[in-house]
């Protein structure tokens, strides 16, 4: 069977944000690109997401945020990854986020931010690219 990528991605929704249509589409898109996608469901804390990512040994954490809490959630995820010695796991954000905050998030270590107009193919390409750049592990 085609298992070309072997890429594992954890997709999560964090906090009080029940808008999960987008995250399901992303999960489906990555599945159709041959990746294993672990979906945590709604209302997770940043620390729970990191714990799951460590147990699942994922390459990428993708957090969908449409609640506006991104400037709180992403720093907590990045810190928790550092505390667990797991900051090689790449963090990607998705949602509606202002441009200047996109820049800030990238400065503190979020690998990529995908905004609301990102086509599915671009998501797949981005995940493949950042995992390839990170190298084998």
């Amino acid at each position: 069977m085609a298992q070309e990528s072997g890429i594992r991605v954890l997709i999560a929704k964090v906090g009080l944000d029940g808008h999960d249509r987008g995250v399901k589409i992303v999960a489906r898109t990555l599945r159709d690109a041959g990746m294993d996608v672990i979906y945590t469901g709604l209302h997770r804390t940043p620390e729970e997401v990191v714990e799951a990512a460590v147990q699942e040994d994922v390459d990428v954490i993708g957090v969908s945020i449409l609640s506006g809490a991104h400037m709180t959630v992403f720093p907590r995820i990045l810190n928790s990854l550092k505390e667990r010695g797991a900051d090689d796991i790449l963090v990607v954000g998705g949602g509606v986020i202002p441009d200047d905050e996109v820049r800030q998030l990238k400065t503190i270590g979020v690998k990529e931010i995908l905004l609301q107009d990102t086509p599915p193919d671009a998501i797949v390409e981005m995940v493949r690219r950042i995992v390839a750049e990170r190298g084998a592990r």
Partner: protein
């Protein structure tokens, strides 16, 4: 964590290093040649855990039940690992592994490890690296390893040759007493669960199952002298109301004790190992087949196409050639 060779992960995993355990599980899942020696070492260190298989049709409530069961077993201080299997796409090879969605309540407990696995084309309800993954978790010190199969049909029964105790989950409203006497999945249960017992037609499902079991008992040969017989109990659960979970945990523990006191555990272990060896043979054979695809296999295929050789005879020839090659030391 940068790249670390599998053998160097072994001592770290045995010390309970979560990232090392996680990485070894990934290697078990992908089945790289590099990890073989490390996984063999974990196998040698394993053998202490009670392996519990949970199976049932899709949507029967396995994940929710497993989460509740794990939390209940934790109250005795035992450390619990869960291997939750979901299907891979037959088209893309990708998967959406959603069992964790139901297991949110287990988050934050360092005594619980949850790992999702995709079937990667394996049939029978398990993923191909499942038992290596169980070895890793067993050797890393988890006392109970729960395998949650994919949602199965009527005859995906591999879990019974992977677990010491098999729990079959039936949901109300999916069939009558004739379904209950059919061959297949219901036969492998050491413990039956009827889930979602807060639904009105649950009593019917419980009655059908009990009727089936009573029928089986009256026709089964008596146990050997001095041996007791295990009678699979039917446990009614309603996970969302926390009903029946304690009874299920008790039934699983009782079966574990029965295996030990009756000596049945040896037969189970042997059956598990036998199946693993057979699966390993299949895997080696498939790999060899693919390796010879262009040369020997395609030559034989031409003869089959011309009907001068049957597929069965061609397989015999190919195996004979592989055998010669392996014994001349040229096995790549």
């Amino acid at each position: 964590m940068a790249y670390i060779p599998s053998l160097q992960l072994v001592p770290r995993a045995l010390n309970g290093d979560l990232r090392a355990i996680a990485r070894l599980l990934t290697r078990a899942e992908t089945g790289t040649g590099e990890s073989r020696a490390a996984l063999d070492e974990m196998f040698r260190r394993a053998g202490r855990a009670h392996i519990v298989g949970i199976t049932g049709v899709p949507g029967s409530g396995k994940s929710t039940l497993v989460a509740k069961l794990a939390a209940t077993l934790r109250t005795t201080g035992r450390r619990i690992a869960i291997v939750a299997i979901d299907p891979s796409s037959p088209f893309s090879g990708g998967s959406i592994l959603g069992d964790r969605i139901r297991m949110g309540d287990l988050a934050g407990d360092p005594g619980v490890y949850v790992r999702s696995m995709a079937t990667r084309g394996a049939m029978g309800g398990l993923a191909s690296g499942t038992l290596e993954a169980v070895d890793v978790l067993d050797a890393a010190g988890y006392d109970v390893v729960i395998i949650e199969t994919v949602g199965v049909g009527q005859d995906e029964v591999d879990v019974a040759r992977a677990a010491h105790t098999t729990v079959v989950v039936s949901a109300p409203g999916l069939g009558d007493d004739i379904q209950a006497i059919k061959a297949g999945i219901l036969e492998i249960a050491d413990v039956h669960v009827v889930s979602k017992c807060d639904k009105p037609d649950a009593n019917r499902t419980i009655a059908d199952l009990k009727g089936m079991l009573a029928l089986g008992l009256s026709m089964a040969p008596p146990p050997a002298p001095g041996r007791e017989r295990w009678v699979a109990p039917v446990v009614a659960t309603a996970s969302l109301r926390d009903e029946g979970i304690g009874e299920l945990a008790a039934a699983i523990d009782r079966h574990h004790r029965f295996l030990d006191t009756s000596g049945e555990i040896d037969a189970r272990r042997k059956a598990i190992n036998e199946r693993r060896m057979l699966k390993a043979c299949e895997e080696i054979l498939r790999r060899e087949f693919e390796r010879h695809q262009n040369a020997k296999v395609s030559g034989l295929l031409q003869q089959i196409d011309a009907r001068s050789l049957s597929p069965h005879a061609a397989a015999g020839k190919l195996l004979a050639q592989m055998h010669i090659e392996m014994h001349s030391g040229d096995n790549g």
